[in-house]
Symmetry: C2
Subunit: 395 residues, 2 copies
């Protein structure tokens, strides 16, 4: 067959993360590569019970076509749930979507033209970068430090590039685990309102806090609706159910997100939305979150304890939550080249280069996930990594 | 908030069908507007049992991230199921998607550039037209008659327009209910292979046959893989679960569909795919299809019987299956203008103009759905329509 692939996809070959996911199937490889919740955090019996209950109460409606705008009870319960992050919204401005990834896709579909500039953190979530690339986005980087994106740099880049969109993960950022400070949240909300640039606040990890005080979302300081808030139930309930939601307070833009969703998948599956709605209304979620946080905190500590045995030339982030650590090796290390040796020795990670907007350089960095490995495997896998790096001359 | 909508969406205001769906909520309106299965065709208890079973057997995997390529057991069972339409494929060339709409979206994402020409039947499915428009497609029409698309016209239009894609619904077409003849299926498969133009064969209604002999899919005559076959479980199991599948035999193109899906929603929900897989393996589907066909046949007959009481100036199609009839009123009738009066009088339909690629004219046509109305409501609703048209001077 002789076909010509579209300009938008011809040079995009898929996410390194998704392909490395396939390694997860090999029981001999301890994977720190994915962004998966722990298997023990997933609750098939409880989900089956909610499914049963939802289908018994409202089965015919759930199995029938639903509204593109989302399952009405979930729009209500999600609006209620988001309050604890300081996000105040009415249900009519919440759009349930099939994972935050779809939220990003629909926002791009509604706002980006080929060649438009986006401001992103560098490094940032590679799956988001892939979506933005399919819309022909160009990237400019906001400088970051230990407290996340630097507002002065954000303002400078807005003035320099007149971006169409800004993308930030303010809490337990992917890949670094870093969190934007309270003061910067307030300031960034002011800036995007002042310069009238929509900001995507991608916030899937905010409930996975193991220490320190919870911070309100940037959205909580948003006066005119320039912050498009995305939150997901993937990390706290189940990624396989594919349920997330976008808060968009502008009716015109929300309508375009809905139109985009109509043409993309008509609507998100009703049953999945109903299961999440049941969970949110059950009163059981806070306790479940408390339990998974208790485990993940131990896993993060174990990984950091192992990293503290590496030579001091290896630096790493010390987040207050989330599921990732970000490691930096000495300049001459190349984690991309070392990955195949690492997997042969039974350990996997994501090379850091994939998280940079230009997809180049930073070869001495890597992302480590700790949520989906047991304490024993964290110890074993990190030992394998240490041995590998030492054998490559790490000192 | 002051935002500029992207070029692709700024002039697209959503599908008339989805907005008319909202009328379905009003119990005083008998709707022939949607494309919904009958409520009685939906099986909440059975689906709950399959969900339960799937989660009990494989719950943690189903709730975890899945593969973009789809849930492996469903790829197998769908490959087996599609055999009865003459579609022979191995599971590796089946991509489960979130409804056929997503299949159309992903194919466009992978193949269309702004301004590319597509060949479509005129009239054709308005939801597909909306998706194609979001990719900047231009349209050229293939002439059709009672036996569907005319191969000579297809060839002529291929030569004239060098289209990037062709879109056909060969069986019980939406909106006309017409079916492409066997001989034309064979010829069209030859033509798309000869001219090397990918054809989307959208085939959601093929199992809803009430009379006559089943015809093999165009795909069954496809030698080099130019036919991209889309089939859906929406009409025979449940639209709300959003499970369909695309058969694509070209590995390069399939990879691009997967890359597009990664960036759109990562993967389709595992639980939904597992439920459909369970149903396909249960041995119960053929009997279920037999039952819904028996009801729908009666509903179609009732609607046609009512139409036969309209003045002879109203013509309508006489399909062998599917869920739609297509009506043509005298030239001076305008179904778009009459719709608000119709809904006030308690009956809804879709004005035919929406099904035309240029979205104009053909104001004397309309699509009527019979699958989602009881025999009693079909009688009542059609009586209301007849009274309305008579009051407008129909003779």
């Amino acid at each position: 067959m002789n076909v010509q692939i579209s300009n938008r996809l011809k040079d995009i070959n898929g996410s390194a993360i998704r392909d490395i996911f396939k390694l997860l199937g090999d029981p001999n490889i301890i994977s720190f590569a994915g962004g998966n919740p722990a298997s023990s955090a997933l609750e098939p019996e409880r989900i089956a019970a909610f499914a049963q209950e939802a289908l018994a109460e409202n089965g015919v409606n759930l199995l029938q076509y639903g509204q593109t705008e989302g399952y009405a009870p979930l729009r209500e319960s999600a609006a209620e749930f988001f309050r604890h992050n300081g996000v105040e919204t009415d249900p009519a401005h919440i759009l349930p979507v099939s994972g935050s990834q779809q939220g990003l896709d629909l926002i791009c579909k509604a706002l980006l033209n080929e060649g438009d500039t986006m401001l992103v953190e560098n490094p940032t979530f590679l799956g988001a970068l892939q979506t933005f690339r399919t819309y022909g986005a160009r990237f400019a980087a906001v400088e970051t430090d230990e407290d996340g994106a630097i507002p002065e740099s954000l303002e400078e880049q807005i003035r320099a590039h007149h971006p169409k969109l800004i993308y930030l993960i303010p809490t337990f950022q992917n890949p670094t685990g870093r969190t934007l400070s309270l003061e910067r949240r307030r300031r960034i909300a002011e800036l995007v309102n002042e310069y009238q640039v929509p900001l995507i606040e991608d916030d899937p990890y905010c409930d996975l806090r193991y220490r320190g005080q919870a911070l309100p979302a940037i959205k909580s300081f948003d006066e005119q609706g320039y912050v498009l808030y995305c939150n997901s139930f993937s990390k706290i309930i189940s990624p396989g159910l594919r349920v997330a939601a976008v808060v968009c307070q502008d009716d015109g833009l929300l309508r375009k997100l809905v139109v985009g969703k109509q043409s993309t998948d008509v609507h998100s599956p009703n049953l999945n939305q109903a299961i999440i709605d049941k969970y949110l209304r059950s009163g059981l979620l806070q306790e479940h979150i408390r339990q998974i946080c208790a485990s993940y905190a131990k896993q993060m500590d174990a990984m950091q304890r192992m990293l503290s045995t590496f030579p001091a030339s290896v630096s790493y982030t010390r987040p207050d939550g989330g599921i990732f650590l970000w490691c930096t090796l000495p300049e001459d290390f190349n984690t991309t080249q070392l990955l195949s040796t690492a997997t042969k020795q039974g350990v996997a990670y994501i090379p850091g280069t994939h998280f940079y907007a230009d997809g180049q350089g930073h070869h001495n960095t890597m992302r480590l996930n700790f949520s989906n490995a047991s304490l024993e495997n964290i110890e074993k896998g990190m030992e394998r990594l240490r041995a590998l790096f030492l054998s490559q001359g790490l000192c």
